[in-house]
Structure formats: C-alpha cells, structure tokens
Symmetry: C2
Subunit: 311 residues, 2 copies
C-alpha cells in the first residue's frame, strides 16, 4: 500500500503554508520589543529552518486539530514552534562535536554555511523562539492552553525527551566508553532511546493539536498513543533508509549506522523482521484511531506515509 | 557607600534558598512523564548550575515580588528559571568556539569537566528546563501569568535579547571581520549590545516579579526601567572589574577585554568617567523607585551592590 496522491497533495500544501508562516516568524518583521537584530544570526536561523523539509511535525499537529474540526493560523504557528525545536536540534546535532555532518536536505549544514559559533547560537535562539511562539496570544486565545503547550514542548524536547535521547545515542555509539567502542543495547534500551530522541517530538504535536482543539482528556491520550506508534514507525523507517537508501535520495549521508556499529532495531533483528513490525505498527495506528472513523483518514495516511517513506 | 551587612545577609540567604530549589529542579526527583534520565547529561547540567554564584537574577525577581508583599515557592521557582537560562548561556559562551574559557566560578567550565558535546547538550536542556519550570502550575496558579513569564523570558533571551547580544559581541571582537580585527563601536552601539547581552536578563526578572505579584502595568513598567538601569550598571561594573580585578577575586580570567581590543564603555570613555556614570545610575535607580518609599530599600541596596561589587 502506498500513500494516496490526495494525501501527498495535502502534505505539500501544508508544507507550503508552514514554510510561509516560518518565514514570517523568522523575521520578515521585527519581533515586539526588539531593539536590535544581528543579521548574521537571523540569516543562520533562516538557513537552519527555511527551504524545504516535509514539515511532518507541523502537519501532524495541524491534522490532529482538524480531526476535531479546528483550523486556524494559531494552529499553524504551534506547528511551526515544534518545527523550530526540530531544526535547532538538527543544527546542533550536525556540529563536528556531535554527528559531524556537512549536508542536510542537500545543502550545507549551518556550521558549514556559517561557522560553529554561529550554528550554536542560531540553535539556541531557535529554541527560544519556539517557546516565544507558543506563549504568544496569537497562537491560542486561552492562556491555559498556551502554558500547557509550552510545558508539553519542554517535556518532549529536554532532559527526559529529545536532548536526553541524543545523549543516550552518543553514549551508544561509544562516545564515552573507556575503549571508544559502541555499547551493545538491548531491544528495550534502543526503544527507550528512540522514544526520547525522535519519538517524543512526533508524539507531542499530536497531543498538542488535540489540546488546541479542546478535545477531551481521553482523546488527547488516544492521540498520544497514536503518536507513540508513529514515532516508533518513523525511527524504524529511518533506520531502514540508512541501510537501503542512497545519499542522493536522502540529501544527507547514509550507511552511517552500520559504519559506527550503532545499535538499531534493524541491526538487532534484521530488515525483514522490522519491515513486518512496520506493517504491525500501521495496523495498530489504525486500531487506535478507529473511534474517529473516516475523520482520521489523513492521520492514518500520515502513519502509512511515515512507515513507507523513501526519503 | 558600600552595601549594608543586612543586604549581604539577605542576598546570601536567598542564594541558599535558590540553590536548594535549583537542586530540586535539577533532578533530585524524576520529572513528570520521564522515561529515562541520562546521568551524564544531568551531571553536566548540575555542574553548570549548582555550587555557587550570587544568584542575582533570582534575587531581583524575588525582591521585586516582595515589594508587593508576595513571597512563596513559586516565586523562587521563577527566579530559578531565569538562572537556568543564565547558566545555559555561560556553558555555551565558555565553549572553545565562543569565548574559550577554562574556568568559571573557580571551577572547570562544563566542556572542561565533561566534553564539548555534553556542554552543548547540557546548555540546550537547561534552556528547555527553564521554560518547563515557568509553564508548570507549581510556579503560579494563573496560567495567564505563566504564559506571560514564558514570553518575557523568551524575548529577553533570544534573537532580540541575550543571544542576539552575544552575536553582536562576537562581531565586535572581529570574529567575522575580513581582517579579523575588532570593530570600532560607537557609544550607542556598545549600549545596545550590552542591553541585549546582559541587560535584558537582569531587567526581565524585575518585571516578572511585578507580574507574579499582580502589580499594575505602571508598576511593571517602573520595575522595567529600574531593571534597565541596573543592567547598564552591572555591565559597566563588569567592564571595570575586567580592567581592575585579579583572576583570583573573580574566579575567572580578567584583562580579556583589553587583550581582545574589545569596545567597552570603559575603553571608550575611561575608568573615571564610568565610575561617575555608575554613581549617576545609582541615583537614577533611587529616583525610579521613590514612589515605593522604604519598601524599595532592598532593591536599591541591590542596585548599589551591583554597581560597587568587587567580584
């Protein structure tokens, strides 16, 4: 089964709307209270964020909100906030001190296009801007919702989420081992690492969308469970692509996991077993959203798209 | 005139309370929803934050709130959030790619005690944690206040505040000049740089304290003007200390500004002129808070302390 043309059209249309909003957020006009604007920093922030990407995280947030019949600019802003955190983490992860990547989406990484200091500071300011966007009344009229979104984004991206997962990941590569050799992780350890490093920031927008739409606690939890499934599928698909795809298709280096002896579920269980798990996850996602009936069609197409994507 | 013993006692008592709260926030207990906790990351975050410092920013927030008769644990938490941002910025600024410092408060900087990747990630997670703390209901019962605090901290510390100021500062040192030589900044350019780099994060806690106490918009603005004065005084005192103090007294390298040909107001106008400006700023601070009468005694003592500090 492949994603329907209708789904891919919707994904592309949303990406265009997100790109336009990101451009506005990233300084098409000065921010309130701004007394100065270092052009070099802003240019690096724009380089890190603008110019492509599927904008999956904003898409998930926007579609989760649409599930409850809500659609507005504030929702797009909230999606952009999640994307800003995603992009800040890429700018920092690409640094020589971290994953040492020169290419991202087929373009030079931020420290290659600028320099390391600028890349560090651009990442810092992008993270700050994400919380700025969420706390701004333009994102949602209810301050309780705004505070809740801030808390959810912080929990998904900090010590207990994305950044913590990145530290587990560097540790697994043997970064801090006495002999520099990769650690042997168990199935459970790999799943925890991935749930934190990439899963949390895919799950958060699904819950956040439900919260913004005023959904019940039960529905927020349901979207959260769907998000956990999507997060796992995303990572398994990513690991499969690292084994099977070309750098040209990905716009970045591939084959890096095996070269580093990195513990992935694919390395542990093999390609065939993980393809089967992906199919099971798509089924589980469908079961989770069954109560929403046909309204969940786009989110289920997104789950399939994530599991079966080729880049 | 020197700070009264009573003031220094109060500053020390508050620093102890802030230190204890920071210890609690930094993982004496797991965070809600935490599924994993990379010990190395947490240790680096604790190293960056705990074990000293005057905790001036929390002190200013707590005293601004006390001005309106409010005192509670939520206020201490909000002060800690500002301190977390301050400490994350120090961890990143100390990196070899930035200011390249080995010592901070007489101890190894984070990348020296751990490594550069860990220092970058610990800084990232500390920034995230700051917004987590502010958005948490434990900080203030009113979500509108929490969202407002998040917005104020973001505006003070991002592109238009602290990080933007740091980029202006690196640019002024000649970081990105074709010939690598320091730029010659005007009086106005130096003041803008400093208002962003250090001023914004000293001003924000004073406004935030007033907001948390439910002060009028007029009083919030008054505390903001007082904060701008304090911020400028802080930076002039800092520049004077860089010229006049010993590395032993400061717990970090001194004489760095002159060595780098850095444009400071002290370099531009001389020590005597800036000592006179400091005295004028203390006067202006006193005039600003006159409407509060004797209740403002501690905040005025803080302004004097900041202007006259020896380390």
């Amino acid at each position: 089964m492949t994603a329907s043309p209708r789904f891919e059209t919707r994904l592309a249309i949303t990406a265009t709307a997100v790109e336009a909003m990101l451009g506005r957020i990233l300084g098409d006009a000065p921010l309130p209270g701004e007394t100065g604007r270092p052009e070099r920093l802003l240019a690096a922030m724009r380089h890190a964020v603008l110019g492509g990407g599927k904008r999956l995280r904003p898409f998930l947030l926007i579609e989760a909100t649409r599930l409850f019949g809500v659609e507005n600019d504030g929702v797009v802003r909230a999606g952009c906030a999640v994307e800003l955190v995603h992009c800040y983490s890429l700018a920092h992860d690409d640094l020589p001190q971290m994953d040492d990547d020169d290419l991202r989406r087929g373009r030079p990484t931020v420290h290659r296009a600028f320099d390391e200091a600028t890349a560090i500071l651009a990442g810092d300011a992008l993270q700050t801007l994400a919380f700025d966007v969420l706390a701004d009344p333009a994102t949602h009229a209810d301050p309780a919702v705004r505070a809740d979104l801030v808390l959810r984004l912080a929990r998904a991206s900090g010590l207990g989420g994305m950044v913590g997962g990145q530290v587990y990941d560097l540790a697994a590569e043997g970064r801090w081992s006495a002999d520099g050799r990769p650690l042997t992780l168990s199935d459970g350890e790999i799943r925890r690492l991935q749930a934190m490093k990439t899963g949390a920031l895919l799950r958060m927008p699904l819950e956040a969308g439900a919260v913004m739409a005023g959904a019940s606690g039960e529905d927020v939890a349901r979207l959260g469970r769907f998000g956990a499934i999507v997060g796992l599928a995303f990572q398994i698909a990513d690991d499969l692509l690292d084994v099977e795809a070309s750098p040209q298709a990905m716009g970045k280096a591939t084959g890096k996991d095996a070269a580093r002896g990195k513990g992935t579920l694919v390395a542990l269980h093999g390609v065939a077993a993980m393809r089967a798990e992906l199919a099971r996850l798509v089924e589980a996602a469908s079961t989770e959203l069954a109560p929403f009936g046909g309204r969940a069609e786009t989110l289920l197409a997104a789950a399939r798209f994530i599991a079966e994507r080729q880049s």
